[in-house]
Every structure is written in C-alpha cells, then in structure tokens.
C-alpha cells in the first residue's frame, strides 16, 4: 500500500474485493470515480483498478485487483454503484473482461460488429489490423516522431548531473519499444 | 257482488287456513293464493264500472249511516284494494318460490297474518265509520307487528317492538280522539261528523275542545303514518323485516292508513291545518331523501324513500282536499309509489344482497333484470311516462298556480336528492359483467317485480295520451320499433340497425306528411336536425353495429322522445319529452364500456337541469301561461324568473362551465356511435330550448331591456364565453380522442350560447348557423373517431399514428371536419365565427369577443393534435393490418362531408332559413343577403362562394404543379427520416404524441390549477356530511324515538292550538 497523503494505492486479492470495496464505501469513499484496466501482458494478468473518492475528506483510493488473463472474470460492483454498469460494459468490450451479474455485458458500447480480440489488449496489434482491413492511399510518407524524442533527450548539458533522475527506466523502455516497433514500421515505406 | 266480500273472503280464508293446513302446506298456500287472486280479479272486473265516478255505499246489517257501519266503494277504493291484493299475490309469489320460505315469512302461519292484514287494509279503505277505522287500523298494525316478529331476523324483532311501541301510543291517541269526538258530535260516521262540524260551524262546537280532539286524532294518525321525526321505527322495520313483507305492508297497511287519513281530512279541516301538514310533509320529504344519501344498506334506503314519498303525499293532501291540487294527482303519486316500491322491494329481496357494495355488478349477467330495475327506479323518481310523473306534474302545476308556489322548491330539491341515491344504486347494479365481482343469483323469483314494472309502465303509457300532437304517429312508430328492438336484441346488429334506419326514415316521412318539417319554423328546423343526425348515425351503424344488445331499441326510444320534445305543443309536452330524452339517453350512456359512473353523473346533472327547466316552466304556468306561444305574454318578474330558471337549466344541460363536469365522461364513455349523436344532436336540445322559449320571451320583452349593451343576457354571455375558452383549453390537454372531442363539443356549444345570449337578430342567426354547422362537423368527427377506435381498439391518441395510410377516407373526413370546425376559410366554420364576432362587436361586447377569439385560436391546438397524432406521424407496427371503415360507414360520412361543402359554398342558403326563423320575433333580420351570395352585416361582409372559388382556383394551379413534379419525387419508407443520421428507433419512440402541448401546460399551470371537479367533490362531500350528521338523529333507541314523539306532540299541540285563532 502506497500513500501520498490524499491518494492511497492498494491491491487486494480477488476474493476480498467486494468486501474491501464495501468497507471503503462505508469509510466515506462513496464515489466510484473511475474503473480502468492495466494489461500486465508479461505477468499474464489484468489489473482492474477502482478509483474511489471520499468527497468530504478529499481522499482517494485506487484499489487494484489482479486477475489472470486466461479467466478474466470479476464480480460486478454495479449493485453498489449503478454507474459502474457503463464502465463494466466498456471494459468488457475493450479488454474482454467479464463482470458477473452486470446487466449490459456483451452489448456493443463503441465498437459495432467487432469480431477480433478486444482491441485494448496489448496482444492486439492495431497496426496489423489496420493494414489488413483499411486500405492506405499510395504515396503516404510518415515520420516517426519517436526518433526525435530520443534525439532531444540526447542533447545533454553539463547541468544534467544536478537534475533529479526520478525515472531511470523511462528512456530504456522507449528505446526498447523503438527497436521493437522498427520491424513493422511503415513510416518510410511506400505502399505498393 | 258486494264489496263486503273483500273483507269477508280473506277473513274466511284466514279462519279456514288452519283447517286446510291439515291437508298439507300446498293446499294452504293454494287457498291463500286463490283468495288474493279472487279479490284481485273481482276488483279489476269491477273497475270499468267505477271508471265513470260511480260510488257504491253499503250499509252493513241494513242500518243506515249513523248506526250501522257504512262501507263505501268507489274508484279510489277499488284501485287501492286491487293494489293490496296484487301486492299480496306478488309477495306471496315472491316468497313461495323461495327456497327457505319459512324462514322469513313465518311459513303458513304467516299466511294467516297476511290474510288478516289484507282484511284490515280493505276494511280500513272502505269503512266510513270512525270507530271501525280504529278497529281496522289495529288489525293492520297488529298484523304488521306479527309479521315483523315472525321473521327470524333479530333486527326484525327489535324493529317490530319499536314499531309496536310507537303504534300503541298512536292507537291510544286515536282512541281518545275518537271518544272525545263522539262526545262532541254524537256520531261516529265520518261523513256525519264532518257534516256536523261544517254545518254547525265554529259556534256549534267549543273551539278549544275541538282543537284538543283534533290534536289527539291528528297526532295519532301522524304517528301512524310515520312522518318525520317519527319515522325511525318504520325505517328500522325495512331493515329488519323481509322485503316481501315490507312490500305487502307498503301496499296494504300504509296505503290504507294514508287513505284513512285522507278520509279524515274533512274533520281536520275544521281547523285549518294546511300549513302544519305541509311543513311536516315537506320536511319529511326533503330530510328523508337527504338522509337516504348516506345509506349503505339497500333496504334501509328504500325505507327512507318510502318515508319521503309519504311525506310528499301528506304535504299535498290538505291542498288536494281544498281543491288546490287535484286529488287524482295525489292518487297517482300514491299508486305510482306503491307499484314501484313494491317492485323494488321484491327486487331487493330476490337479489338478497344487503349492502350497496354487495350489489355491485349483481345484475351484470341479466339484462332483463337491469332493464326492469331501471324501469322501477325511473318510475319511483317520477320520470315520464310513469304515473308518478303525471302526478307530480299536475301537483306542481297546481301548486304553482295556487298560493303555495314556493313549496315547489322543497319538492324539487327533495326529488333531486332522490335522484342521487336511486341512480347511485342503479349505477352499482349496472356495473358491466367484466368488472362485476358477483353475478346475479336470485334467491327468489323476479317475476312479481317484473310484473309490477310492466304494470307501472302500462299505467304510465295509458296516461300518456295527454301528449297527442301532430307527430304522434312518428313518435309511436319510433317508440314501437324501439320496444320491438329492445326485445329482439339478440338479432344481428346489422339487421337491427337496418330496421332502425327504416323506422327513422318512416317517421321522417310521417313528419313530413304531417307538415312538421318546415325548415323556417323553429320546431321544423330542429326536427330536421334530429332526423338528419339520427339518420346519419344509424346509417353509419349499419357499417359498424354496436355490440350492446339493448342499444338499438334504446336509441329509437331516444329519437322518439326527441321528436316528442321538438314537436311539443305545450309546456307539458316539452317537459315530458325533455325528461324522456334524459332517461333514454341516460340508459344509452350506461351502455358504454365503463358507463356506470359517467352515466350516473350525466343523470344527476340532467336531473338538475330538468328541475331547473321545470321550475322555469312552473313560474310561467303560475303566471297564467298555457301554451308555448303564451310565453310571449309574460311580463315583469315572472318573465325574468322564467328566463333565469330556463336559462340556468339549459346552461346546465349544455354543460356550461361549472356544470360541465358531467359532459366529458358521458361523451367519452358512451358507445362510440352514440357519442356522435350525443354531441351532434342531443347537445343541441338545450339550444332548442333556448330558441323555443327565448324567441317568445324576447318577442314579449321590453325592447329597451334587451336592446342595450348590457342586458340580461350579459351574464349568460360570459358563461358561454368562459365555457368556450375553458373547455377548449382542456381539450388541448387530453390524451383520449373521444375526451378531446367531448371537451371540444362542450366548448363549441359555449359559442352558440354566447350567440343566443346576445339577444340580437344577428347573434341568433349566428348561433343557429353555428348550431347546424357544429352538428354536422361533430357528427363527422365523432363518426370518424368511432371508426378509428373500432379498427384500432384504442382511444388513446398516442397509441395510434400514421393511420392516413390505412384509413384515408377517415383522414379526409377528419381533415374536412377540423378545417370546418376551426373556422379556417374557405370551409363552413368560418362563416359561423364571423357572424358571431360581428354580432358581438355590434352589441359592443368587446371583451367577450376577445375571449372567444382566443378560444377559437386555442381550438387549433386540439384540432391539429387530433388529426396529427392519429393519422399522421409514425404508423405503429400493430396497426399495419388495420383496414378502412366499412363502405356504408363511409357513405354516411360522405353525406356529412357534402353537407359541409355545400354549407361552405352557400352559407347564405342556411342564413336565409335562420333569418326567416328569427326575424318575426325580433322584427329585424340583422343580416342582409345580397343577390350575389354575399352576406352583409352592419360591420363587414363575406362572400363565401368567392373565397371558395379563389382558394380552389389557386389550389388547382399549385396542385397541378406538384402533380407535374410527381414523377420526379420518390416515395420513401416510413422510418426514412433524418434523425441526426442515426437509425430511427421503433415507431412508438419517435411518434411525438403524448403530452403534446407540454409547454402550453406549463405556461397555463396557474389557470389549470382551478378545478371545478374539485369544487363539486367538495359540495358532494358537504352534502354527504350533512346527511351523515342528520342521520344520527335516528339512534335506533326506542326511548329516544318516544322522546321524539313527545316533543313532536308538544310542537304539534302548539301548532294546532295556535290555529284555533
């Protein structure tokens, strides 16, 4: 559990989810501000986050629950917060996570007639899908701006030594992605 | 044959009965039945001989009057004995078919008492001897106690005890009175006493002594007659004793007592007790009717009713004796009451339900029983053609001409109260089968009740010969056909409607032959309206016959009553027709799916309207009027009051604002075809009344009075204007198509009322034009809506939509109708509105003109809504298979459409008629009709044909243009509309129809908060509370009743003694 005074992050096991949510609700976190999902593809898990707010004391709790990607199922919270139905519908559509007992599961929210795997899963390749389904106009040239990101950050100054280095991993990740994406980059190719 | 037999035979039978009983119960009952039948047959056989006033006096034992007992047998006695015998037979029949007959009648032992009761009653009726009167009175009373006590209901026992308690007091008083009277006059013969009192005059007998004597007799008899406040025990008796027994009691004991009282009138009149009796009787009539309002138990309610009716008779009796009121009228009231009340009591007994709530729907499965009950109720409340009506009419007319004219008011007020509780009962009994909780399971035979219903109807019809006019043939044709169809209700509806059409056509032909159809006479004009409306509605009915079996016959009866009403030659004919129309239309309204409650409301307001009209007529009659033409000779306050009362009555019937609450329900819940007739024709009858009497009153009135701007009509004008705007506004907010049209109809009648209220020739012309126009349009619209309802099975507009594609003919009908009704040129409505505005401005009623103009614009709202939400917009999937109305139906509508188009092009043709009608009374036409078809009035001009020609010409040009475009345009599908490029959801969701004028509702919220309905509810609640509070007067406690008797005697003593001068 991390906390920075007004925002607390905590993780809970699936079995204790409903109890914990009700506890928090009883504790004054009466407002479900958001429900969102993180796809931990490498860990083979989804993390569903419930962001709860206490409008009186201005406290926020981000309650995360990890579920396996193979069996993405959760109990619904729409009986506690009716507005959760919409979030659950959207998450169901975009990540394929099923919420037991939620009323509009499987009803299209944004996508109409979607047949592929849910598009927000990280193993869904949007570029590939686009290439397969939507035709491009010949002659398109695009410049991948990510290259400039690295270049800008390369311009080092002697004062860098005193700059705070909070996120060392960031640059590395970007570089990884750059390398990874290079294979499918259509940026400088010409169609046909 | 000797009248003594009427006493001797039942007496003998009573003695024989215990012997015969040894041969078995069947034989005993046979003997009793034979006895009653013999008495009845003998009297009936005697009746023709007595009809010419012959009188038979029998002196028993051969002794002449002062010594022997004289019996007299005349027409009155014969009728009363016949009634008692018939009632005995009926009660006998009603009881003997009952499974547990012994339980309530005391079995065969009870029959002895019944026989004795008949003996006593017959004796009491015939005897002319004072002491004998007492003896028979005792026999009757004791028989009553015995019958009450032999029942197994403990209530009966208790009631009988209380009854006896008071009866004993009465007997003692009467005996003392008789003794003292004998001491004073030396004779016991009633005639002798009267003679000696008359001849001797005041000097012969000491006045004070006479007063005391009379006080005893008088008080004794009043206690015996159970007038207010002494009627408590009698009412308890109704509650506790079998209704069959009570029916017998009413027909024997009560009638005999009343007649005995009547015979003593000459003695009482030695001191002038007229006022005392009238006060007592009047109070009894009004209060008993009032208290009956809160009765939840049917039999107790009937008890109050008996008390009330008796009060009326007591009230009229002194006047009848002095000749102010004809004795026949009072006799008719008594006979009517006996027949109807006995029938109702048997009815109550057979159905066996105690409380009103239990009565709900018990007659649902039995139309014949419903009809019979309705007939009996109509008889007892005094509707024509039942004898009660004639009695009441004669009595009231006599009252109006005498010095007691003010007494009409309590009589009418009490009668109205009577309406409320009787028709409430009828309403509950009329709850249709689908809503009923229980079905009728008669525990006894209804035959006696039916028989008395038929007798009372027959008696009434026999009396109706007073109404003979030139149109009698037509009326008889229609009424006869109506009765036939009423019986033949099981035939196919189409055939019934066809027969109705034939009857209407035949009567139209007869009226034509009789010369009753001249359009320039008022009666001919309205007769044409009636016939046209009836013809169209029946013609349409061939297409979609109503499924109610009694509808067809009742409708013809209604038309018959309308013909009678319109062709009336005198006030009696008018009022009889009016009341006939009221109850026939009431029964028709009750034929609707949820007809009970709306019909009840309809009847109450119609009843009130009828009594107001009656009041107006009576004022005029009191002022010496005999024919309708004579109304022109009225002057001064009589004319004013006649006008006010008639105006008020017609305004109520026309559902003017305030009294409108009956109309929407009645129009809406009636059978669909009848709604058209109700709105198209029946709503014109108050206008007919206004025209009929108004023309005369205007012709006779002081020109200075009606010529000025603010004459007596101004208030009526505002009433009409408020009606017009209020109803129009409400119409715009209705969800139910028929209800919308109902409000519209009421509002449009408001226009006509304003026109008549103007009292100018132009105003009347406008109003008459509007009347005809409105009739045609409303017939058309209601018929179209009826067709739509018939096909779609719903009345709610938002459930329809897009029907133009399925029912184009109905669409065209409604389109023509709404354009005409809204007053948009070039159709006929405009000329009507134009005339009314011109008339208003001419009369300088500017503000009323403003209100009417506003109302006429609001009318667009509901008219557009009507056509739009039903015919335009989105067709619902469930109406994809809807078909057009049948061809005959459309033909009937085509007739109306042609009429509208004709009227639109040539309004001057109609105006020529109306001006010819009104000009003689006003001495001016108000409208100038130019040779080229223009209508010229003092302020403006109109050439309807020219407008029509212009519009048609332009229309033709542009229509040709779009026709030329035709091939270029493409028809798109129903749901192919622009919904922000979205696929439209189901038709139900995009049909904007419910709560159509929400912004309007919001804007008018402060006005709409005013609820007349709530006002009437409060009034009803107050009346109810008063009745409830007053009812506590009857504690059911013998001591209290005795206390009342003492107090009453004290007051009576003061009253009688003060009369001594």
């Amino acid at each position: 559990m991390q906390s920075d005074g007004w925002m607390t992050q905590e993780t809970v096991a699936l079995s204790g989810l409903t109890r914990r949510l009700e506890e928090l609700r009883g504790d004054g976190h009466v407002q479900l501000t958001l429900m969102t999902v993180t796809d931990w593809l490498e860990d083979g898990e989804f993390e569903v986050s419930y962001i709860l707010t206490d409008p009186v004391l201005f406290r926020t709790v981000i309650l995360g629950v990890r579920i396996p990607r193979e069996t993405p199922e959760l109990p619904t919270v729409s009986d506690i917060w009716p507005q959760a139905v919409t979030y659950e519908q959207e998450i169901n559509e975009m990540f394929g996570i099923r919420f037991e007992g939620s009323p509009r599961q499987g009803v299209p929210f944004i996508l109409e007639g979607w047949k592929d795997i849910p598009p927000m899963r990280r193993d869904f390749d949007t570029l590939k899908y686009s290439v397969e389904h939507y035709e491009d106009r010949p002659g398109r040239r695009s410049i991948d701006t990510r290259r400039f990101v690295g270049r800008v950050s390369d311009e080092k100054s002697f004062t860098d030594a005193w700059e705070p280095r909070e996120d060392d991993g960031r640059e590395r990740k970007l570089a990884d992605m750059d390398g990874g994406a290079a294979g499918s980059d259509r940026g400088e190719t010409t169609d046909e | 044959m000797n009248p003594v037999l009427f006493i001797a035979v039942p007496l003998g039978a009573a003695f024989l009965l215990p012997l015969v009983r040894r041969m078995g119960d069947r034989a005993a009952r046979g003997l009793a039945g034979l006895t009653f039948a013999f008495v009845l047959a003998a009297v009936v056989a005697w009746l023709p001989a007595l009809g010419n006033g012959a009188m038979l006096t029998v002196t028993t034992g051969g002794w002449p009057a002062p010594f022997g007992i004289a019996l007299r047998f005349g027409l009155a006695e014969a009728v009363l004995i016949a009634l008692s015998a018939a009632a005995a037979l009926g009660s006998f029949g009603a009881v003997s078919s009952r499974a547990g007959r012994d339980a309530t009648s005391g079995g065969v032992r009870g029959l002895v008492i019944v026989l004795l009761m008949v003996v006593g009653a017959n004796g009491l009726i015939m005897t002319r001897d004072l002491f004998n009167t007492f003896v028979f009175l005792e026999i009757v009373s004791i028989a009553t106690y015995a019958l009450a006590a032999t029942g197994d209901e403990s209530r009966g026992l208790e009631a009988g005890f209380k009854y006896m308690f008071l009866g004993a007091v009465a007997s003692a008083f009467i005996l003392i009175g008789i003794a003292m009277l004998y001491r004073l006059t030396g004779t016991l013969s009633i005639d002798g006493i009267a003679e000696s009192l008359m001849v001797g005059g005041a000097g012969a007998v000491p006045m004070f002594a006479l007063g005391v004597v009379l006080l005893f007799l008088f008080a004794g008899f009043l206690v015996e007659l159970k007038v207010f406040p002494l009627n408590g025990p009698a009412i308890d008796l109704y509650d506790g004793v079998s209704p069959a027994v009570m029916a017998l009691t009413v027909a024997t004991a009560l009638n005999a007592s009343v007649y005995a009282f009547w015979k003593l009138m000459p003695i009482f009149r030695a001191v002038d007790l007229t006022l005392v009796l009238m006060v007592i009787g009047g109070a009894t009539f009004v209060l008993a009717n009032l208290f009956a309002l809160r009765q939840s138990r049917v039999r107790r309610m009937l008890g109050y009713s008996t008390s009330a009716q008796l009060g009326l008779i007591v009230m009229l009796m002194p006047l009848a004796h002095s000749g102010d009121v004809s004795a026949t009228a009072v006799g008719l009231l008594l006979v009517n009451h006996t027949l109807a009340k006995a029938g109702l009591l048997w009815f109550a007994g057979s159905v066996g339900k105690q409380t009103l709530v239990e009565w709900k729907g018990v007659l649902a499965g039995s139309p014949a029983a419903r009809l019979s009950l309705a007939a009996l109720v109509l008889a007892i409340v005094g509707m024509p053609p039942f004898p009660g009506f004639w009695g009441k009419w004669d009595a009231l007319v006599a009252l109006s001409r005498g010095p007691h004219a003010w007494w009409i008011i309590p009589v009418l007020a009490g009668s109205l109260l009577e309406f409320i509780y009787y028709f409430r009962w009828l309403r509950l009994a009329h709850v249709p089968a689908e809503d009923a909780e229980t079905k009728l399971e008669p525990t006894g035979s209804l035959v006696p009740a039916h028989a008395f219903g038929i007798i009372v109807l027959g008696a009434g019809l026999a009396l109706s010969s007073r109404l003979v006019t030139s149109s009698t043939d037509a009326v008889l044709t229609l009424a006869g056909a109506g009765l036939v169809l009423l019986i033949a209700g099981q035939l196919p509806g189409r055939l019934l409607q066809f027969l109705s059409l034939a009857a209407v056509a035949a009567s139209g032909w007869m009226l034509h032959q009789a010369g009753s159809l001249a359009p320039t006479s008022i009666t001919g004009f309205f007769m044409l309206i009636v016939l046209f409306g009836a013809f169209t509605v029946v013609l349409a009915g061939i297409g979609t016959p109503p499924d109610r079996k009694r509808y067809h016959g009742l409708f013809l009866l209604l038309v018959a009553s309308l013909v009678l009403l319109v062709d009336a030659r005198g006030p009696l004919g008018f009022f009889a027709g009016w009341e006939l129309m009221t109850w026939t239309s009431y029964l028709l309204v009750a034929q609707g799916q949820r007809g009970g409650r709306p019909a009840f409301r309809y009847m109450l307001f119609s009843g009130a309207a009828g009594f107001l009209v009656l009041g107006g007529i009576l004022v005029a009659l009191g002022a010496g009027v005999t024919t309708i033409g004579d109304f022109a000779h009225l002057a001064g306050p009589a004319a004013l009051w006649t006008a006010i009362l008639l105006g008020a009555g017609f305004a109520v019937k026309a559902a003017s604002a305030g009294a409108h609450v009956w109309a929407p329900d009645a129009y809406t819940e009636s059978p669909d075809l009848f709604s058209a007739f109700l709105s198209g024709v029946l709503s014109k009858m108050p206008l007919f009344g206004i025209v009929l009497f108004g023309t005369r009153l205007v012709a006779g009135a002081d020109p200075a009075l009606i010529g000025g701007t603010y004459g007596p009509g101004y208030a009526l004008g505002w009433l009409g204007a408020i009606t017009a705007i209020g109803m129009t506004l409400l119409a715009a907010l209705q969800e139910d198509a028929k209800r919308l049209l109902a409000y519209s109809s009421v509002g449009q009648i408001g226009y006509a009322v304003v026109g008549f209220a103007l009292l100018t020739p132009l105003g009347w012309t406008a109003a008459l034009y509007h009347t005809v126009n409105h009739m045609i349009i409303k017939l058309l619209l209601f018929l179209a809506i009826a067709a739509v309802i018939n096909r779609t099975g719903t009345r709610r507009m938002h459930e329809m939509g897009g029907l133009i594609k399925k029912m184009p003919a109905q669409y065209i009908a409604v389109l023509i109708g709404i354009i005409a009704l809204s007053g948009v040129p070039p159709l006929s409505g405009f000329a009507g509105k134009w005339l009314i505005y011109n008339a208003l401005i001419e009369k300088e009623w500017y503000f009323i003109a403003g209100v009417l103009m506003f109302a006429s614009v609001i009318a667009f709202l509901y008219l557009f809504r009507l056509i739009n939400t039903i015919f335009l917009g989105q067709l619902k999937p469930r109406h994809r298979e809807v078909r057009e109305a049948p061809a005959v139906f459309v033909v009937a509508q085509a007739l109306l459409v042609f009429a509208i188009m004709g009227l639109s092009m040539f309004p001057d043709a109609l105006l020529r008629v109306t001006t010819a009608m009104t000009a003689p009374f006003f001495g001016a036409a108000g409208v100038e009709l130019a040779a080229d078809g223009s209508v010229l009035v003092s302020l403006g001009y109109l050439n309807a044909f020219g407008v029509m020609a212009m519009v048609m010409g332009l229309f033709a040009v542009f229509f040709a243009w779009v026709l030329f475009l035709g091939p270029k345009t493409t028809k798109v599908g129903q749901l192919d509309i622009v919904m922000a490029a979205e696929e439209p959801p189901a038709p139900e969701e995009i049909h904007y129809a419910y709560d159509f004028y929400r912004p309007y509702k919001r804007a008018f919220a402060p006005v709409l908060r005013v609820s007349v309905e709530r006002g009437w509810s409060r009034f009803a609640a107050v009346l109810s509370a008063v009745a409830e509070y007053g009812r506590r007067f009857y504690t059911g406690d013998a001591q209290t009743y005795l206390l009342y008797a003492v107090v009453f005697l004290g007051i009576a003593a003061v009253a009688v003694l003060s009369r001594l001068g």
Binding site: - | I804, P808, I819, S822, V824, P825, F830, K833, W834, Y837, I841, E844, Y846, F847, A849, G850, M853, F854, V857, F860, L861, F864, I867, N868, L872, G873, Q874, A931, D932, G933, L939, G940, L942, N943, F945, G946, V947, V951, L954, F955, F958, F959, V962, L965, K968, T969, T970, K971, Q974, I977, V978, M979, Y992, A993, Y997, R998, P999, Y1000, R1002, A1003
Partner: protein, 313 residues
C-alpha cells in the same frame, strides 16, 4: 357568386402579376434582412439577391423525396395560404391588381385565412413522421395561440373605434395624416398590435418553431428541393401579406406602390431589429410573455376605445 364569376382574364392577369411581384419583393426583403443581420454582426453577408439564387437552386434540384400524400400537399397549402391571404388584402387602395379578391371578405377573413397555410404546413410536417417537426408544430401552435390574443384585442379595439371590419373602411378611417394612423390614434392597442406582430413574424426571440440548433429547422425538416422552394416562395409572400395587413390596420394603408413597399419594409424591419438583439424564448416563456404585457395593452386599448367612443357620443 356573380362577383367572382364576372372576373375577366385581364383582372386575373393583373392579380397574377402582382402576386409574382410580391413574391419577388418578399424574397428581396429576405435578402436585405440577411444583409442587415450580417452587418449588425459585422459580417459582409450574402448578396441581397441570395434568396433568388436559393429558390432557383431548390427548383433546379435533381431529386426530391416525399413521405406521403399530405407531405406532397403541404407546400401547396402553404403557397395557396400565402397567395390567398395576399389576394384578400387590398395592398394599395383603389389599384385593381393590388386589391386582389378583397371584395370577398373583411379583415376577419384575412386573419382566419392566415391559419390555412400554417395548417397545411403543420400537416405536412406531421406526415413526414419526424418527431422534431411535430415538436416544432406543437410549440408553434402554442405560441400562435398566445400572440393571437393581443392581436385580436387590438383588432377589436380598432373595430370598436372605426366601426367596420372592412379593410377598406379601416384605411379610409385613418386617412388624413400620420396622426390618424391607428397606431397613434389608440397607442395602447397599437403597442399590443406591434408586440403581437413580433410573434407573428417568428423572428427571434419568437423563433422557437424554426430553431435550427435544437430541432433541425422545425416543420420543414424533411422538406427538400421543389417542395422547399415552394415553401420559401409561400413564406416570402406570406410575410409581405402579413406586413401589408399590419400596415393597413395600424399605419393607414398605402395610396401608391412605393408607399406600400416602404411601409411593408418598415414593418418587416421592426421585427428584424428586435430579433437582432434578443435571444430566443422557450415556448412557455413566449406564451407567458404574450399573455402578460401585450394582453394588458390590448385590454387597455379596448377600454380606451370604449372611452373615446363614449366621449364622442
């Protein structure tokens, strides 16, 4: 009857000419209004002949759709309503073509005939099956009923004072200078008339019916091509006719064509200038507005008329 049957071709031709002229003038006024509004909003705005182009374009549309018979007929109703009312009003007193068919009836006829076009329009909107069109009609009828009240009150005051419903008579009564115009003769009724005229013209703030931002253009939502062109023509002549009626009732009529054109233009512009500075009312606000001040003015106008009549006699 005879008066109508006696019309000769020449007269009808004159009438047709005047109708065409009025449509042209109505469209021109429409263009001017757009220009004026643009200038008020410091725009350049379309050329003044833009409405002609629009109408011509609509007539030149290749395709059009219809929803049913009534949809088909509504533009006819609308146009006939517009032209009919124009023909029933004497625009210039005594000029044959411009008096049209006004011998057929008086001012009441004109007022009631106004509803003819509206009714047809509303029915066509209903037949289109579009809920927004019907919502607009519902609002429009609500508003119409409310502004008709002050207008009728003003008219009643006028007739009470003038003593005739005939438009010719009303114009005659106002002859002899500006002071005799009814607007100044009975200013209270005049104000009621002016205010109700705002509602009649359906410019802002009383344009809830056509409110394009919430109920796409209201009743004509589904109308297109020639139908719309016909409707626009009808609306143009309807506007002219309404203004002419107002001119005849309150501004003393006209004795020559230029005078009529100027007065009609002025009357038109009154509604436009008010509309330029006021935002739109909701339907119930509009109803309440007309039932308050304009109605009080109308009632006071009638009282004043009665008083003046009383003093005169």
């Amino acid at each position: 009857m005879q008066a109508v049957l006696n019309l000769d071709i020449g007269y009808l031709g004159l009438c047709a000419l005047s109708v065409i002229g009025a449509i042209a003038y109505g469209l021109l006024i429409g263009g001017i209004i757009r220009k004026v509004m643009a200038r008020i909003q410091s725009r350049i705005g379309p050329p003044v002949w833009q409405p002609y182009l629009d109408v011509a374009k609509l007539f030149f549309q290749r395709t059009s759709i219809r929803h049913g018979m009534m949809f088909y007929l509504a533009p006819v109703f609308r146009t006939v309503g517009g032209i009919g009312i124009y023909l029933l009003i004497p625009i210039v007193a005594g000029m044959p073509g411009l008096a049209g068919f006004s011998f057929n009836g008086d001012v009441l006829l004109v007022i009631y005939f106004m509803f003819f076009g509206c009714l047809g329009m509303a029915l066509g909107a209903g037949e289109s099956g579009h809920p927004h069109a019907i919502i607009a009609v519902s609002r429009g009828l609500s508003q119409m009923s409310s502004y008709e009240l002050p207008f009728s009150l003003a008219l009643i005051a006028l007739v009470a004072q003038v003593g005739t419903f005939s438009i010719g008579g009303i114009i005659e009564a106002q002859a002899g200078g500006i002071g005799n115009w009814y607007l100044f003769m009975n200013p209270l009724a005049g104000i009621a008339g002016l205010l109700s005229f705002l509602g009649m013209q359906m410019y802002s703030p009383f344009n809830i019916v056509l409110a394009p931002q919430e109920i796409p253009i209201g009743p004509p939502t589904e109308y297109n091509s020639t139908f719309l062109g016909l409707m626009m023509s009808g609306r143009a002549i309807f506007g002219v006719a309404k203004s002419a009626l107002f001119m005849n009732l309150f501004l003393g009529g006209a004795t020559s064509i230029p005078e009529a054109m100027i007065k009609i233009f002025v009357v038109y512009m009154w509604a436009v200038f008010v509309g330029a500075v006021f935002p739109r009312f909701r339907a119930e606000q509009s109803v309440r507005f007309f039932l308050r001040w304009p109605t009080w003015f109308g009632l006071a106008g009638i009282a004043l008329a009665m008083l003046m009549k009383h003093l005169a006699s």
